[in-house]
Amino acid sequence: MTSRTATSTPASSPSTPTVPPTGSSAKTSSRLRRGRPELYTDYAADMAMFNTPAKRLWTGLLLVGLLILPFYLDRSWTSLFITVFIFAIGAIGLNLVSGYAGQVSLGHAFFIGLGAFTAAYFGGTDPNFLGLGLDMAIWLPMAGIVPAIVGWAVAPLASRVRGLYLAIVTLGLLFVGGHFFNEFTSLTGGPNLGRTAAPPVLFGVDFSSAGPLLGIEMTARQRIYFLTLVFVIVAAVLARNLTRSKVGRAFAAVRDRDIAAEVMGVPLARTKQSAFAISSFYAGICGGLISLTSGGRLDPINFAGAEGLFLSVTFLAMVLIGGPATISGSLMGAAFVVFLPRFVETVAHYVPAIGSSGLFSVQQLENILFGVFIVAFLILEPRGLFGLWLRVRNYWKAYPFSY
């Protein structure tokens, strides 16, 4: 632990208010030096979200890649990416409350479900179920706001307890909420039956049909891809802003040492309440979009009881594998969890021990690997995939020196 961070920090420590020796060439020369210590001439530059050329470069490359990708992917891969984007929004939300604020929640699936059915209520057009048939510009924000309000309201219960007890309380929420979903059939359609979700019609543009987007002719799936890509980028940027602000610091302080945090002027109960509300907002947005991964249908059973618990745990896995208390880790974790089954399926083709005639089924192997990865990350790299990325980055920063 010590050596790992120590190798990264000296490089950046002499940074801040130092005047660069050659004023104007500071930017170019730092790029030549492969992201070596930055010399900032003002605090704003140091505090910027992408405060090094390397970060800007990587983010730019990733973005360009994601923009051209759907024109080269087949339908099922495009769908997989859409799922990554939507799940990533939920993972960011869980990371805010659990990774940053340290409040482990098993109730995330409830808030996702609440978002899903709130969206269906405001946007649903199926005459058999409750639905106002409003535009996505209304139903999507509502899908976040309603869970946020519920999260805000139940947080005082949850913030009285911590650790294992908190997990149990949030689990209780999941089961109570699940019961509500299953019983409220005029809204949810009931277990195993479900209902149609709100159609993704944003400002009158139906994203579930093929058509032009910004002048380019696209399939429905490509249009959904870009729509959800925009949403996840906005979600990530806003979350990053939050976490670098006083709110994010207060979350971390409450997580690390709650008494000291309070002595510094951080109100415990209200901070935890904000964390739950904001996290639930993200969960709700994820829920509002989740029907886009399941053919436009919603079934309450997926958010209730054991299925709901499995969904919550899946999101916890994204946070743990991606890296707690990192936004980019949430994105990596979501990608990892969504791509893992596809990877296992592909491997199963070549390994005879896997598959219907072999030792394990694909599904079993998937579950086993899931568990193995969670345990492995917890033990070997608690900072998750984000931590692995840091290691690689620091290795190259210091290359050819080992330290």
Binding site: T2, T5, A6, T9, S12, S13, P14, S15, T16, P17, V19, T41, D42, Y43, A44, M47, L238, N241, L242, R244, S245, K246, V247, G248, R249, A250, A252, A253, D256, R257, I259, A260, A261, E262, V263, M264, G265, V266, P267, L268, S274, I278, A325
Partner: protein, 294 residues
Amino acid sequence: MAMIRTLSEALTGTSVDLAPGAKVLEVADLELSFGGTQAIDGVSFDVDRGELFAIIGPNGAGKTSIFNCLSGVYRPQAGTISYLGDDLLGHRPHAVAERGIARMFQNIELFDNLTVLDNLMLGRHLHLDYSTFSAIVYHGRAKQRELTNRRIVEDIIDFLEIEAFRKFPGGMLPYGVKKRVELGRALAMEPKLLLLDEPVAGMNVEETEDMARFILDIRAELDLTMILVEHDMGLVMDLADRILAVDFGRPLALGTPREVQGDPAVIAAYLGETDEDAAPLDAAAGPAADQTSL
């Protein structure tokens, strides 16, 4: 490029307006017990504006418990605490912090996963007056407030000479630096009353002298009222205006260093504890030159 400012230019909120004769803090008949142990047993004292008041006593005497009552972490069973004319009892710690009381902890309570910068910025939490919504957008007010407060934090970093550790996580710092960052975090709160719980415990001579220098500088520059709990008698005798000695939660003596030093009850308490003579109670020549820990 920000100009390097002095501490008093950066922290302007530490001054206290008081009517003549009024006290910053008045504690009367404080009682606190945990089950069978009486941690505080009838302690009373008051602290003047700009005073450096020290509390001494053997291990387990109840010094930290007094701090915990002042900062709202413990709720005493009886007694009153009046701070700038305001009743402190029954307030949560964050509400006490809002009233301008900051604190350093005996067992370091830094946020291990936050950088030194963020730890200090956390000290500015109450001065960052922007909404959560503004934080999410991170434009205008939030950005501007972060920037001006970052500048103040940088002044504190300069003052404490911890520039090299700016981006180190709190948990990775050497012990002496941790103590400095804790002092800085408390200072960042721009308090009107600063509680220092054993600021030099476990430090070597050099680190102790640095810390003493910081405390003296803070006094000189900010005219800040402070309460110091410390086992290092040399330091206490040199720095304190008045001293309260406690043992088993009970007050033994209260007065100037010279008075307390010669008090038979105090000498007896320390003799009983250490089985040595009372020599360590003699004030040493330079600041903190006497390393004898009681």
